[in-house]
Amino acid sequence: MVKPVSRREFLNLLAAAGGAGAVVKAGAALGIMPADAAASTLDLAAGNGRSAVILGGGISGLATAYELGKAGWDCTILEASHRCGGRIFTVRHGTLIDELGNRQYCEFDDEPHMYFNAGAARIPNTHRTLLGYCKKLGVELEIFINENKTCWVQDDAMLGGKPVRNIEYTTHLRGFVAEMMAKAMHETDMDEPFTEEEAGTLLGMIRSFGDLSEDNVYRGSSNAGYASGGFLSPGVQNDIIAFRDLLKTPFAMRLLSTNEGETGPILLQPRGGMDQITEGFLRQVGDRVSYRATVASIQVRDDGVEVAYDQDGARRQIRADYCFNCIPTHLVTGLDHNFPADYVRALKHVLRGEAYKAAFQAKERFWEKQDIYGGISWMNNRSQQIWYPVAGIHRQKGVILAAYDYGGGMYHTRMTQQERVEAHLADGEKVHADYRDLVEKPVTVGWHRMNHMLGCSARWRRSFREGWTGETEQHYRTLQAPVNGRHYMIGDQISMRSAWMESALLSAHWAMADLDRRLRNAPA
């Protein structure tokens, strides 16, 4: 029997099925996603020959050098790796993937569209600060396609493992959910009755949401695509997938939320790879960067900060008035430093996230023969996702993402390279039958083992359910504040929304604005 549904529950259900609004507002409530404000911009006082040493050439460090440099500061960036960008990492022909224990060179063909964004890959349209920098730095953008309903959904438990188009899956799902909602409207005592007009509108919404027939029954929908015909002959509807079969896969929840909130349209990407953002900054501050310069010691003094770093087999020293530090917290704890105890406790509170990505070069763009141009196929297996490139449409070859495990990347990370590749081939051929023959030249990136990173993004919360506790927020405020007014931690790790470039930039802006305010207020 259908359980009575209250109006509030009902509206919640509706929101869960189709609404994005709530998710976006939650971001604004966290104070990270600007609700309606303009991009964060800075108006710094003149540097007057002040100096800053910036530890780590992540996007937050680069932006700091750029902004302070513009204001006349003397900046130096110390970067441990051979490259800047950190978790902005585009892999293409010849790239060294510096994963400890599994170093690789990428052997993709040497062509501009043959690249793989192994770290950050998507820019939400609301990330105004980042988009603002792209504009200022001349980074050309194009649309990134996250949701493409022509892509596949595959689950061994559903339809004997046969992949179905996302559009079929979601159309039927909506149809059945709408049918239940329509029935519930008649059978339920609403705790607040609707007027007849309201009820009519609501029913209309439900019908169009699920493409129901007049009698509120779901009998399939042309939205799910035609099995044949449609242009010069009548379209033949695809068969309905039984509701029970749809329920055999837990995808229902996932698929309805993967294109909401920050990964909802519109998303963008730099043409030619995410590292075009890094390159854009380097065109401005590239001469300030010292590479393969690994910070070893940070000593905060009353009149400045002394930093020791290892380069070319020697330990070198640099002194600056101020220090901005985007080195991951879990690596800072291994450096020689004189930070206060509560700061160290806060550094230790932050755990490192796990993430894993892999990609193949495809010998031909086999997905385009299936009408797929960009977007994601979802698999209910450990490789989880296949991303099809927007770059290079209708060319011979392309680079596809073969796996993306965001939450539990250790499963693949713990495998050898061979085992990883075999796992992705076995998972992917469930969606594309001749996958194994069509792909080559794998690259895999276990972020937990990437040199000088050893993680994906900072984990402040101990559980998703618990969210931010008072204690956690206390640690966060401790790390956000400068040590002795001289040393600032920056990066997306110093935000309440880690794993976004926008957060990294906003954190750097916060630190610079804080220092600027203190300098302006200081007695001359």
Partner: protein, 201 residues
């Protein structure tokens, strides 16, 4: 901005078309083990500075050969094992020389416990590890004084649980594993480690 790099024949496995590729080497230990191998709690990687060369060598070989760090529940060991899996004998020798030049700083103490209980528990340990936990090469037992306390706790747990010291070729580990049977639970482990801490005060 990638820098032009020289070919490093030793470390680049792809000899063909390897020209101008970014080089890398095996001296990457300090990314995890911290400045001068001082240990880093943030990644649970212990102090290596000041470590006896014979002990360092044995552990690297054990990891490389899957004698240590192979148990599926040995989370920290599984993090370290692949870091040694590809090391050649020459690399191990090079690392030992490199580590010999590191500045040794005794690890900071993060654990406290009942020192009297700890002293009593430590008595049998002293036979091999020495009264001041300074180690004993003849018995193959490393120094414990100055090592990160959180790491020693993990090891004692791992010996007890059978994550370390159970491989048929882990002769020294097996000797040590027997000794942990006298430790009853977390309290004993804490107390004995707190006592070892006090030896490097």
């Amino acid at each position: 901005m990638t820098r032009l790099a020289l070919i490093c024949l030793l470390c680049i496995p792809f000899l063909a078309s390897a020209a101008e590729r970014e080089p890398f080497d095996d001296r990457y230990c300090t990314t995890c083990h911290g400045t001068d191998g001082r240990g880093n709690e943030g990644v649970q990687a212990p102090r290596l500075a000041g470590m006896e060369p014979w002990y360092l060598k044995r552990q690297l070989e054990n990891y490389r050969d899957g004698v240590r760090g192979a148990h599926p529940d040995d989370i920290e060991g599984l993090a370290m094992q692949p870091m040694a899996a590809g090391l050649t004998d020459e690399s191990i020798q090079d690392i030992i020389e490199w580590a010999g030049g590191w500045n040794y700083v005794p690890a900071e103490h993060t654990i406290s416990g009942d020192l009297d209980a700890g002293r009593a528990l430590y008595q049998p340990c002293a036979t091999c590890h020495g009264a001041n936990a300074e180690g004993n090469e003849a018995l193959g037992a490393p120094a414990l004084a100055g090592q990160n306390d959180w790491y020693m706790v993990t090891q004692l747990r791992n010996f007890l649980a059978g994550y370390r010291g159970v491989h048929p070729r882990d002769v020294y580990g097996a000797q040590m594993r027997v000794m942990t049977t006298g430790l009853n639970g977390e309290n004993d482990i804490n107390n004995v480690v707190a006592y070892i801490n006090s030896l490097s005060d």
